[in-house]
């Protein structure tokens, strides 16, 4: 999707402004949003819901506002709750009502376990088409829905740097039709001079791409 989120190589942005001694969460609500996103029963499409944001809204709201939007959007789209229910809850909170509490010690243990080492999933798929050192070209026609291929690579050629064991192609998983198809993926090295007209030497961009994003160059 050619959404505003696809920022790599876009021009016109200013300096990177770093904040000294930044805490993990700037306000308690950010932590709550992070925790809800990680532990609530939510429908898939976390990123796609953010990618569909109005571009001006995306650029003028914070990271955790994007997450809020993602949770709300998916719940509304899947009928987990209605806009009216959400608005009514906001009115109650604004009137001073506290956020209700619901305890589920088992869920809390599971939540903490998600942030500890855990077994990796493995997937079977046809053998990889490309090998290390192969020159590959990124397809021009990227999905109009969610894709993990940045737009700045469209039609560009690079060299396979590493071949990885199959994983589900997330382009399809997170967009509308919900299919999951494991396939080989690759780390591909692009000379910056093959990506942009003005680029110095000694500058390589490496990106992880699935087989579907690539064709032999």
């Amino acid at each position: 999707m050619d959404g505003i989120h696809d920022l790599g190589g876009r021009q016109g942005f200013g300096r990177v402004l770093a904040e000294p001694d930044e805490p993990p969460f700037h306000e308690p609500w950010e932590g709550r949003v992070h925790g809800m996103s990680e532990t609530a029963t939510l429908d898939p499409g976390f990123r796609y819901a953010i990618e569909r944001m109005d571009p001006a809204d995306y650029l003028t709201t914070s990271y955790y506002e994007h997450w809020l939007t993602s949770i709300e959007t998916r719940c509304l789209e899947h009928g987990r709750f209605t806009r009216a229910e959400l608005d009514a809850a906001a009115e109650r909170i604004a009137a001073g009502e506290p956020v209700p509490r619901r305890l589920d010690p088992e869920a809390a243990v599971a939540a903490r376990a998600m942030l500890r080492p855990r077994p990796k999933s493995t997937y079977s798929a046809p053998p990889p088409v490309h090998a290390c050192g192969d020159r590959v070209t990124v397809v021009r026609l990227l999905p109009s829905g969610h894709t993990r291929c940045p737009g700045y690579l469209r039609g560009a050629s690079g060299v396979v740097e590493r071949v990885h064991a199959p994983m589900p192609l997330l382009d399809v998983f997170e967009s509308e039709d919900g299919r999951v198809e494991p396939q080989a993926w690759y780390t591909v090295a692009f000379a910056a001079a093959d990506l942009w007209q003005i680029a110095g030497p000694g500058h390589t961009v490496l990106v992880d791409l699935w087989e579907r994003h690539l064709e032999a160059a």
Partner: protein, 203 residues
Amino acid sequence: MSEHHGHARIKSPQELRAAALETVLIEKGLVSTDAVDAVVDAFEREIGPQNGARMVARAWVDPGYRKRLLDDAAGAAAELGFGGSEGDHMRAVANTPEVHNVIVCTLCSCYPWPVLGIPPVWYKSPPYRARVVREPRAVLAEFGLEVPADVEVRVWDSSAELRYIVLPMRPEGTEDLREDELAQIVTRDCMIGVAVPRVGAAA
């Protein structure tokens, strides 16, 4: 309107929106308070760049660990108890005299949570995501890091499910430091690649 039940005053529209969302999710039985608490607590108390710094320091003093880290960073992290969400698949990329590495996620803000914690706002900001792939030397210079012209800059854009961490070079003058002292000079920014460790710097 009264502020009963000891509920803190809502300070921003974002806070109100988050509280309304949590209210509805709880009332629908879709989330539990203590699960959210557990995640917040983990990131505020346990998970952060101090984890990655321990791995880097260990790699500096233990060649076997360094090899395991470069072969399978998730496995090497698990040895120290680090892993899970956004870190099931990790890769460490080593700086050398010839190569300087820097990480980014242009499409989102992916980051190796188990070893670096929550990413800083600037890492998630449009300027960093837009610019560091296209003009990394200019961005690194804004962080005070001048990469010599004869050093290749490799920018790793973590578009799939692999998360990256930079393994910086051990600086000169650290021969006498213990592993835990070495970890002190490995800052978050060193493991993103917008800085390099300096003797005397505090993590």
